[in-house]
């Protein structure tokens, strides 16, 4: 372990560590464009210059392995002068179109210029003109003039996706990046190049000219697009509806988690979030005045809905025929909610409960994307709500059609998609009580007696367990839309109306209850889960689960 001194402080690091990494370890940030911890070292941009005692010239910190006794100055006058000169070169042909550049506000050319800029530029020549709006693929737009040729995007498609779409053409001040003529940047992870582009050369087509980044708020969450559970930051606007056609979610950015997604997100997850703001169920719908109405044509209040539902439930319970109640839960619910469903329906009422629903596996690959498009199948399994501990949803539906179940509550799952409209219509007629709670409009909701609007996952706190057994917090980003409510809140209230002793007030407390009850979660709390998650204690093997890396 060589030890070296950086800015007057000594540090020991493993052999082979570079100066930029050693500095990072000490919390000293060295500017960088081409260096990215997830990619090979290119050492071409020269912005990371540092002064090293006894070496005649400035050195690039990203490509300099530490040696015993090395003395590094990252902020000396000489180092800063070097960076200033590098920036002067990088900006010589740069168009400086920050006022119309989407990167403005989060651009490392701007950021570093604040620190090391010349402020009185000497370049009076004509700038080289290049192409400004080159559509590289379905998600990515290129501005060749803004590119500083750091080659991060090239290395990403070479090393991470191994699809090799992007290259550098020509040379000198005419050099530019692009795709091979006639081809596109089209791979399942293509938009990551936008995140790693340190300047505004690569921008997201979906975000283009939508909002200045300083109007965006950010909150930590995870993706619910598949069972990988990639960590991400959600960028949203609440107070400027004109920016995004009223939608709150503007974009998402990957959040680094070495054990889940490193620095990346798949395009499907990144661009699969429209449902959070579109076609949402926003009001409680009930049978209205007509006593025997089969569908929920009327608007109702939560009090009416939960009052009526709990009254029916209490009656069945009194008759002690809990088996005539069926609940189809969903692996899109949080552990806390699944736990409450189990406590209330299975344990207190004796209902048949399942989160085991028929679903066609989706696309998958050997990197991040998993075929199971539910974020919490593993959680549902740990809570014994899927195979083999729970009945298949299909059996519950069949029993209801056979007249053996009178009350059915469906959480989020679209029965029409799974079993066809005919069957669900029949259910609506046969069942005494048919409740659907979910986030968005769908055919099942329209056929149920009660349609309850649930909060989207980013509108509530809670946890998912990813395919690998990592418990991760969702983190509430903003409040539920319209009249919608978090499923855990609906369930707690229902429990109260049923007179059950559930003395938890929020997801955090419910989770502690869950951790007490389930050994897999023993000793965990929101504190220990933190923002990077923790693995469940006993990893109950799920078929086909492999470590991501």
């Amino acid at each position: 372990m060589p030890s070296l001194t950086i800015d007057g402080r000594e540090v020991s690091v493993p052999k082979g560590t570079t100066v930029i990494q050693a500095a990072e370890k000490m919390g000293v940030f060295i500017p960088r464009y081409c260096y990215h911890p997830g990619l090979s070292v290119a050492g071409n941009c020269r912005i990371c210059l540092v002064e090293v005692e006894n070496l005649p010239k400035l050195q690039v910190a990203c490509n300099l392995p530490v040696t015993e006794g090395m003395v590094v100055h990252t902020g000396s006058e000489q180092a800063e002068d070097g960076r200033r000169a590098v920036l002067e070169f990088l900006l010589a042909n740069h168009p400086l179109d920050c006022p119309v550049c989407d990167q403005s506000g989060e651009c490392d050319l701007q950021n570093f210029y604040m620190n090391f800029g010349l402020y009185d530029p000497r370049f009076r020549e004509q700038k080289v003109k290049k192409q400004k709006a080159v559509q590289l693929g379905p998600h990515v737009m290129l501005d060749q003039e803004r590119c500083i040729l750091c080659s991060r995007c090239v290395r990403f498609t070479d090393e991470i996706t191994k699809t090799g779409e992007i290259g550098i053409f020509q040379r000198g001040d005419r050099a530019k990046i692009g795709v091979y003529p006639g081809t596109e940047l089209e791979n399942p992870y293509s938009a990551n190049v936008v995140d790693i582009c340190p300047v505004g050369a690569l921008t997201e087509r979906a975000f283009r000219f939508k909002a200045r980044v300083w109007y965006l708020s950010s909150a930590q969450t995870v993706c619910n697009g598949c069972s990988q559970g990639c960590n991400m930051d959600m960028h949203y606007v609440l107070d400027r509806p004109h920016l995004n056609e009223g939608a709150r979610v503007v974009r998402v950015k990957p959040r680094y988690n070495p054990d889940v997604n490193q620095w990346w997100l798949c395009d499907e997850g990144r661009y699969g979030l429209e449902w959070i703001d579109k076609a949402r169920l926003q009001e409680v719908r009930g049978p209205g005045d007509t006593a025997n109405a089969d569908t929920n044509s009327g608007k109702a209040t939560w009090e009416q809905a939960l009052g009526a539902i709990s009254k029916s439930l209490a009656e069945w319970k009194a008759e002690d025929v809990g088996a005539r109640i069926g609940v189809i839960a969903s692996a899109k619910l949080t552990n806390e909610e699944l736990f409450l469903i189990r406590e209330i329906f299975r344990d207190a009422l004796g209902a048949q409960v399942s989160a085991w629903v028929p679903e066609d596996p989706g696309t998958c690959d050997e990197f991040l994307v998993k075929a199971d498009k539910n974020p919490n199948t593993r959680g549902a399994t740990l809570l014994n709500l899927t195979s083999p501990d729970a009945p298949e949803a299909e059996r519950i539906v069949d029993e209801a059609l056979a007249g053996n179940i009178d009350l059915l509550w469906v959480f989020g799952y679209d029965l029409v998609e799974g079993f066809g409209e005919q069957k669900v219509r029949e259910l609506g007629e046969k069942l005494k009580l048919f409740v659907y709670s979910g986030t968005n409009e769908n055919p099942t909701q329209a056929l149920a007696h009660w349609g309850l609007p649930s909060a989207a996952y980013v509108e509530k706190d809670g946890t998912f367990v990813n395919h690998h057994g990592r418990v991760q917090r969702i983190g509430r980003v903003f409040s539920p839309l319209g009249d919608s409510r978090e499923d855990w809140r609906i369930l707690l209230e229902l429990g109260g109306l049923l007179g059950l002793q559930l003395d938890w007030r929020d997801p955090q407390e419910i989770f502690l209850g869950l951790a007490d009850a389930e050994t897999a979660f023993a000793g965990m709390s929101y504190g220990t889960i933190g923002d990077q998650g923790v693995e469940v204690a006993c990893t109950k093997p799920t078929e086909g689960v492999t470590a991501p890396w």
Binding site: G164, I166, F169, Y180, G182
Partner: protein, 165 residues
């Protein structure tokens, strides 16, 4: 739109395949033979590197076409567009410039029927302005298909270019 297919990636003439296979043994890394291979392709396959050629070379070296395109577009000696039967390279670097390269170039344009960088309508010539060819001592100069004509005057240009078919 041009599509890269398995076929385009694998149709280098067998003679070149054999030649490149041998060529690769001269280098520690296979891809290091890429530049000489591109030169040979240009010689053998119509004087320029067509998309089909680039893809076939990429196929041989197991590289992405974009990488071969990057290399080919880096060097001015590689032609990425069809070129005339004869290549006229007029030097315009400092020594030649001082000794009247501009007049040579103007005459060469007239005599060949090209604009700099262009190809004549009859397909006989492609004319390029190039950097120093290492013949500064007898500037100005032009090269016709690689053959140097040094210390020339504008009148010579007509004689040199007029003589080729």
């Amino acid at each position: 739109m041009h599509e890269v297919t398995h076929e385009t990636r694998n149709n280098l003439p067998p003679t070149l395949v054999a030649e490149f296979t041998e060529l690769c043994t001269h280098y520690p890394e296979r891809r290091a033979a890429l530049i000489p291979a591109l030169h040979r392709c240009q010689e053998e396959l119509g004087g320029w590197l067509s998309p089909e050629t680039l893809e076939a070379v990429a196929g041989f070296f197991e590289l992405e076409p974009v990488e071969v395109f990057g290399v080919a577009s880096f060097y001015p000696m590689f032609h990425l567009r069809p070129r005339g039967k004869h290549l006229v390279s007029v030097c315009h670097n400092i020594s030649c410039d001082l000794r009247g390269a501009q007049d040579i170039l103007d005459e060469a344009c007239k005599a060949s029927g090209c604009t700099p960088g262009g190809t004549s309508d009859d397909g006989r010539f492609t004319l390029v302005r190039v950097e120093c060819q290492g013949a500064c001592t007898s500037a100005p100069m032009l090269a016709l298909d690689g053959v140097y004509h040094e210390g020339i005057t504008p009148e010579d240009v007509h004689r040199i270019l007029g003589g080729v078919q």
